[in-house]
Symmetry: D2
Subunit: 159 residues, 4 copies
């Protein structure tokens, strides 16, 4: 199952070519990921866009850091500025012992025809204990929360 | 009359202090301004958040450039990352011959109590003819569109 | 006395107009300020570009936070991407009890003729005790270190 | 043969974790790439850091656009803010018909011991004719200029 995260652009995401900058795209994926797996300040967990209890916590002072170990991105079509949010599909391509792979397909806004696939990407995240600064295992609660979003990882075209 | 522009934060807007970075704030104001005074690619004009026909055009290739001549910002309270969009109030503090001043008050998200005023700011924009690269006068159509949003400019505390 | 801080641009500072973005300019000023008033991790203080012992500390975990209370910027000429670093002149326009005003004039790279003044700006910084989160007074050591760089503040043209 | 491109950090590259943000890293690689393969406005070509005549042109209005088709990044160690520029080693891992792969290893600043390898990355660039918006072949002049920097591409650990 995939999450659909509406992710607004900013005009400032454009570079001198007039397209969304390739580095800024990683900032958009970061924001979609955080919106998808948000934990509230009071400790309750919820999705912005789903209904599970997934628990990647991006708040400062949390006991777990989500460190990025690897990213792979294919840019398939240039992205112009547009007022409607991009439609980012997001799922989990791999659930390891202390790490997971988040996969993305970035589409044109919902309702805009024809639908364009702009970007495909994957991020490997390692869960790190903030106190010890060492990787820590994915808990049973986390694994249960994330398993519904497990699908086949992306097969990148250019390798 | 003021426009209310809901403006989403990104986690990447935070700096190493864990607050929205002061430079990033100008990017948020830029985005609110563009959302408020958007022109479609087909030449029709509309507000994202209002109903007039205001016409600051940020699309590449447009015949008018909106150049920033001046900005003044007061940071009143640090802004944490939050999932709900900030509530940016936006109006026009001054309508000159070829320039205008856009004023902003940046508030905590709608519905969050107590309401906090984070930032107050003003931007002076000069309309420039893209072909000649010289300032060009505000047209009668633009003046009619913007006049309803004309209010007293901000009186900054620290000067 | 003014400090001269060579501050490199990045191509990514350009926006869709092909000029350095107005919000990014504040990031450049931030970097020039930190380079000018840097404190090493071992507690020794030094200038990147001067020789005093000024002590604005930007390292995470430091006992003083430098909070931005106010900024004012005049953009006088558009800035193209260029490989040589901008020449940012930096001085202190005001030394208060717990706050100071840093002033900047941003010039074209050293050696490039004619010399262009791109931007003038001022930033009000409040020194905040990280533990109590309240403003704390400028110390005698800091005041002695900063006094040589005290000059008249900027008189902005457009107010 | 590899180019060594000294690439300065900015304090604003840090995120709320106090490390250089993963998306910002792509902006650093972009800047190192442009510094390495710069073309002057008068059409002459030179390296900032080498001595060949390589010709990726990032100036607006140039006849060739350098579009990013793919990026792969491994983050091996978190990067703190530091005043000295990072030492980015840069070479060409593949020279195709209309595309090339730029490879990077990002090290701690020259002279800082022990030397740390922070990041390894590869970017696939397609040369696009600005007029037709279609890929165009690498010229003989370009191929001669780039061939000295051809080395084995990166073998990424996590795949």
């Amino acid at each position: 199952m995939r999450l659909h995260v509406p992710t607004p652009l900013r005009w400032g995401d454009l570079d001198a070519y007039g397209h969304v900058n390739n580095a800024r795209m990683l900032g958009l994926l970061e924001e979609a990921r955080i919106q998808a797996f948000w934990v509230n300040d009071d400790g309750t967990a919820e999705h912005a866009v789903g209904a599970s209890t997934a628990v990647i916590d991006a708040t400062p002072g949390s006991s777990t850091l989500s460190l990025i170990a690897r990213q792979e991105v294919e840019y398939l079509a240039p992205i112009p500025y547009q007022r409607l949010p991009l439609d980012i599909e997001l799922w989990i391509g791999n659930l390891g012992g202390a790490s997971l792979e988040v996969c993305y397909e970035v589409f044109s806004p919902v309702g805009v025809e024809p639908r364009v696939l702009y970007t495909r990407a994957a991020t490997t995240i390692v869960l790190v204990d903030a106190a010890t600064e060492r990787p820590r295992r994915i808990t049973a609660v986390e694994r249960d929360a994330w398993t519904p979003y497990l699908e086949a990882p992306i097969s990148f075209r250019r390798r």
